[in-house]
Amino acid sequence: MIVARREVWVGRTLLVLLMAVTILPFVSLFVTALHPAGTYPPGLQWPETPHWENFVSAFNVAKMGQLLWSSVLIEIAVVPVSLVIATFAGFALGHLRPWGARLVFVAFVLGLTLPREGVIVPLYYQMRDYGLLNTRWAIILPLIGLYMPFAVFWMRAHFVNMPEDISEAARIDGANTWQLFWRVHVPLSMPALSSLAILLFLWTWNQFLIAVVLVSDPLQRTMAGALGAFQGQWGTDIPLLCAGSLLILTPTLLVFLLFQRQFVSALLQGSLKG
């Protein structure tokens, strides 16, 4: 019993330490953001007078309003389209299982491990030929394609695990495949769909390579791409850079804290099935 209690205390201490290390970079970013703009403060020191106005000037300098709008536009185009076409394909490959479904599924899975760097150069010339370089379409279209391996894999796994009885009952009631899909399977897929939506949202928001290569105007990019440009431009003004970085992080953090329960419940459901 004594040994067990000591184990628990070691565990608690370790956990607190690891959490501190995880949080430390955020804290350092935050306190530095409060120092006077243009100074070079030590990494971790509370300023004499906190300069909250740094956040206002970073908001203006980074053109946060336009950035947010650009990110939202890209998200609105990428996430729903990816969800719908991946659900179609997942339903077809996981439930209808036509002749040759296995082969097509394997072809999708092959793309799961693909590093973005493997296709970025041809994508650049492809977008140039389409005349889409430096437009939001140059981020939207490739991302939809690049998400397909994971999204189809995810939705197919969901439909494969759906009990056959439900579909049979609906068929006996006279539902055709289309009705079966919309009235029965889609409503039952909401948990799988919503966790996929969260993942796709995050990945799009945080996408960097595609944005940097295919779109040179930061105001046409998503948040992470814009952050890269912000660093290049204001990297010498440390407090301003820190304030801007924090602002750009805020939406992600809010979404995470809001949807955290969904994340956890989706994960639990996944493990229950497995």
């Binding site: 607190v16 995880t22 970079p25 403060p41 491990t113 760097e117 041809p122 394609g145 992470a224 952050l227």
Partner: protein, 322 residues
């Protein structure tokens, strides 16, 4: 195409089957339904398939095609066969970038998984306590922020008067302080630590979730047999976590070999080429030195390397299942 076939087939059935209840007609009806279903199925796969072919498979094939040419992206390209591949393995800068990527695996994969296993095992007994629940949120934070942001934060942490050096000074290690990302010896490990920071939480939480699924009776049996905590870990915990471990390693190894964001932000491959990785080299070659063929050859090598490392891991995982 199959959809159109269903028309004539079902028409045929009406004309030619005299006995509606006969097994022959039922089989035909079933076939017609199957064909119609297959047609619909392929129609549903089509949009995802087209997006995938157009923006993944086609560029992949084109990377391979480009890799056999000498091309500056503008003028006529010339066929050079395998020259670009020869250069990838002979040019010390490019070859070095591949070596660096493999070195990053130590930090991106091995440290997070090892530390994750150790931590998860120590906190297993109170995995549902409040502290553990809070830690789930906190440790997940590095996963949800952009890698670019992680790069910016850590660059500041590593600065000559940044937090890392501050802490070292406080504990009396003044001699060790340096500009971590600018130092030839410490740049790559420093970048690696950023990766470890990003991936630790995910690995730890995945492993912890796996541990809570292990049947407690197994541990009781081991205790009765007189196994200590170490034996228990190697005999029960580790084998039961085969799947979770392989998932963690797969995800982090891909992140290490294909790393770009963190390095682009924190070091740009420097000092010298100490932290150059294939992703950054491809970017530079294709868009700054205008050596599209060479960049593509490196891209193909990178894709093959990732597959070569990940596929055996998957096989290991599947063998564990059977």
């Amino acid at each position: 195409m199959p959809q159109r076939q269903t028309g004539p087939t079902s028409g045929l059935r009406e004309v030619m089957s005299p006995a509606p209840g006969s097994p022959e007609s039922r089989r035909r009806a079933r076939r017609a339904r199957r064909l119609r279903r297959d047609g619909l199925a392929w129609l549903l796969v089509a949009p995802a398939g087209i997006a995938y072919v157009l923006f993944v498979l086609r560029p992949m094939a084109q990377s391979v095609q480009f890799s056999f040419y000498d091309w500056d992206g503008v003028t006529q390209s010339t066929w050079v066969g395998l020259d670009n591949y020869v250069q990838v393995f002979q040019n010390s800068e490019l070859y070095g970038s591949i070596v660096n990527a493999f070195e990053l695996i130590v930090y991106f994969s091995i440290i997070p998984v090892a530390l994750g296993l150790f931590t998860a095992n120590t906190i297993r007994s109170f995995a549902t306590s409040r502290l553990a629940l809070v830690s789930r949120t906190v440790l997940f934070l590095p996963q949800i922020i952009p890698l670019v942001a992680a790069g910016i934060m850590w660059t500041w942490l590593y600065a000559s008067n940044g937090t890392v050096n501050q802490v070292l000074r406080i504990i009396g290690l003044d001699r060790v302080t340096r500009a971590w990302l600018g130092d030839f010896g410490s740049a790559l490990p420093a970048v690696g630590v950023i990766g470890a920071w990003v991936h630790f939480g995910l690995c730890m939480l995945l492993l912890l979730a796996g541990m809570t699924k292990i049947d407690p009776a197994l541990y009781e049996a081991a205790r009765i047999d007189g196994a200590g905590p170490v034996r228990e870990f190697f005999a029960i915990t580790l084998p039961s976590l085969r799947q979770e471990i392989s998932v963690c390693i797969t995800v982090t190894v891909i992140a290490a070999l294909a790393s770009f964001d963190i390095i682009y932000i924190s070091t740009q491959g420097g000092p010298g080429n100490q932290t150059l990785v294939p992703g950054l080299a491809i970017y530079r070659l294709a868009f700054f030195s205008r050596e599209v063929g060479l960049a593509s050859a490196l891209a193909v090598v990178l894709m093959v390397l990732v597959l070569g490392v990940v596929l055996p891991l998957q096989r290991l995982n599947r063998e564990g299942d059977s």
